[in-house]
Amino acid sequence: MARVMVTLRLDPSQASVPEVLGLLGLAPDEVDPGFGVVPISPAERLYTILVDETAATRIADAPQVEGVFGNPRIEGFGPEAEG
């Protein structure tokens, strides 16, 4: 299943996968544990997690959720032949 990024506003003490699972009622297999809870703007207390698309829809209205965002493919701007 495709995974999307979910931006969360958290207290730094809540910025761990177990804490986020509890806060948002997510099952462990709905979150990418390797990705973790990634700080994207410490000053704003913003973090992002990688979540299954259906789970993201379920938690979209939670107070900690700032938005659900795509995870598009990216590619090097190098010679075509290499690809």
């Binding site: 990634v38 410490p42 965002f69 795509g70 995870n71 493919r73 990216i74």
Partner: protein, 453 residues
């Protein structure tokens, strides 16, 4: 509007042309000036041979069967150069008057022409040594700017140090700060020779003593169609590490340059514009947020503008008429780098602005499509232009950390000192022009020395 006007011959015209005289004497042969038509006095009239049809009644302009040409004075015509008003009314009036004159054969467009632009697959033009000269690397080095101890993160397909060494480069390398996504089998600095190694080589043109940091995001094992693709979430993880690195530096010595020669080729990879989860046009997307956050912490972030220029886009481009400089490549907190060849012509594949997040993109241009790393026949694409510019930024940072010259101030200085190309001032092909290390070094000499590192 520039035009060529074809006049019939007269003895006076023919004599003037033979004498190589310009328009003043030639203009005197017309009945009276044509209102709205301004003749270029510097343009010496050019005699045009008149085609003669092989058979009576046939068109002489079909050129088949073969036609002959006459240069006889009574048959030849003469071209002069001029301009017509740009407003449609004035233009129509001038054309009507001109074509009614018996001495005028016709009025024709005189479009701007240019050398053929470099396109994907074209052979290299010049070498990395030529690029060093054009950049003004000796002037930077003379001012003590060669990137010594400045970390430069290469967010790409990974670096192969052995290849760099085989090409005469001897960069410092930080294994501790390097990273690769989970599942990547090769080690930092030992990844397969490819796109990232080319970028690392090109950083060394202006910053041979910079410390390379290898972030092999595009080697991600996440699903992708090609060998050098990943997902944006991989880049989020890499940037999170960079945020930790730069935040851990003493404020007075903070410097980190981040070179990104990647982006999206196809809007179908993203949510549509207007969708709340969209990346390309959405400053709230987590990657765009972390880019702003990293720049605010003191990092210089450079992104390639992309290879979807209108003249000869990369075959993977699927933007059509939509603006191709999107997402972080168009972020107001980054330097978006377009590509020019060593003749200072825009390479035909270099993406043009406006950008999606910030319309004033690309910011500036740097050199590309030259023979350098020998990873490819040419170090090409805006992929090469970006690390070339990143090397200049790293060279500067050796003497001027972010506490002295903020990333925004350095971007402004790079724009101010760039050699203007294309239209006067900023334009969406070249940005503010091509990066000029000589002018940059001269401008930096005015910065209070006590403020330096």
């Amino acid at each position: 509007m520039r035009v060529l006007v074809q006049f019939r011959s007269s003895p006076e015209v023919h004599a003037a042309t033979l004498r190589g005289e310009a328009m003043p004497s030639f203009a005197a042969t017309t009945e009276a000036p044509i209102p709205g038509l301004v003749i270029d006095p510097a343009f010496i009239p050019v005699q045009v041979p008149t085609p003669q049809a092989a058979e009576p009644g046939a068109s002489p302009y079909l050129y088949s069967p073969a036609v002959s040409f006459s240069l006889a004075p009574e048959r030849a015509t003469y071209l002069v150069r001029g301009t017509l008003p740009d407003d449609p009314e004035g233009q129509r009036a001038a054309l009507t008057e001109a074509t009614a004159r018996p001495e005028v054969v016709g009025v024709f467009a005189d479009p701007a022409i240019a050398t053929c632009l470099v396109c994907p697959g074209d052979p290299a033009a010049g070498t990395d040594q030529d690029v060093a000269g054009l950049l003004g690397v000796p002037a930077l080095a003379e001012a003590g700017m060669d990137g010594y101890r400045v970390p430069v993160a290469v967010v790409d397909t990974g670096i192969n140090l052995a290849h760099l060494e085989s090409k005469g480069r001897d960069p410092k390398f930080s294994t501790r700060r390097s990273w690769a996504p989970a599942g990547v089998a090769t080690k930092p600095g030992r990844h397969p020779v490819g796109h990232g190694t080319m970028c690392a080589y090109d950083i060394g043109i202006a910053a041979p003593k910079a410390t390379l940091v290898d972030l092999a995001v595009l080697l991600s094992s996440t699903p992708g169609e090609t060998a050098m693709s990943g997902l944006l979430s991989d880049a989020v993880l890499a940037y999170s590490r960079l945020l930790g690195i730069v935040s851990g530096m003493a404020a007075a010595r903070r410097s980190l340059v981040v070179s990104n020669s990647w982006g999206m080729f196809d809007p179908a990879w993203d949510f549509p514009v207007g969708h709340p989860g969209n990346y390309s046009d959405n400053p709230a997307h987590p990657f765009n947020v972390i880019v702003a956050s990293l720049e605010a912490a003191g990092a210089d972030i450079l992104f390639a503008a992309g290879n979807c220029g209108r003249d000869c886009p990369d075959g993977r481009c699927r933007f059509g008429a939509a603006r191709p400089i999107c997402g972080a490549n168009s972020h107001p907190s980054v330097l978006s780098v377009a590509g020019v060849d060593t003749s200072k012509h825009r390479v035909g594949y270099s993406s043009q602005g406006p950008g999606r997040l910030d319309p004033a993109k690309p910011d500036l241009s740097a050199y590309t499509h030259f023979r350098g790393s020998d990873v490819y026949p040419a170090d090409g694409g805006t992929s090469a232009a970006c690390p070339v510019a990143a090397g200049v930024v790293a060279a500067v940072r050796e003497q001027y950390p972010a506490s002295v010259l903020s990333p925004a101030e350095l971007r402004a200085l790079l724009a101010k000192t760039a050699e203007d190309l294309g239209g006067t001032g900023f334009d969406h092909d070249f940005g503010w022009g091509v990066v000029d290390g000589r002018a940059l070094a001269a401008a930096l000499a005015g910065v209070n020395r006590s403020r330096r590192r």
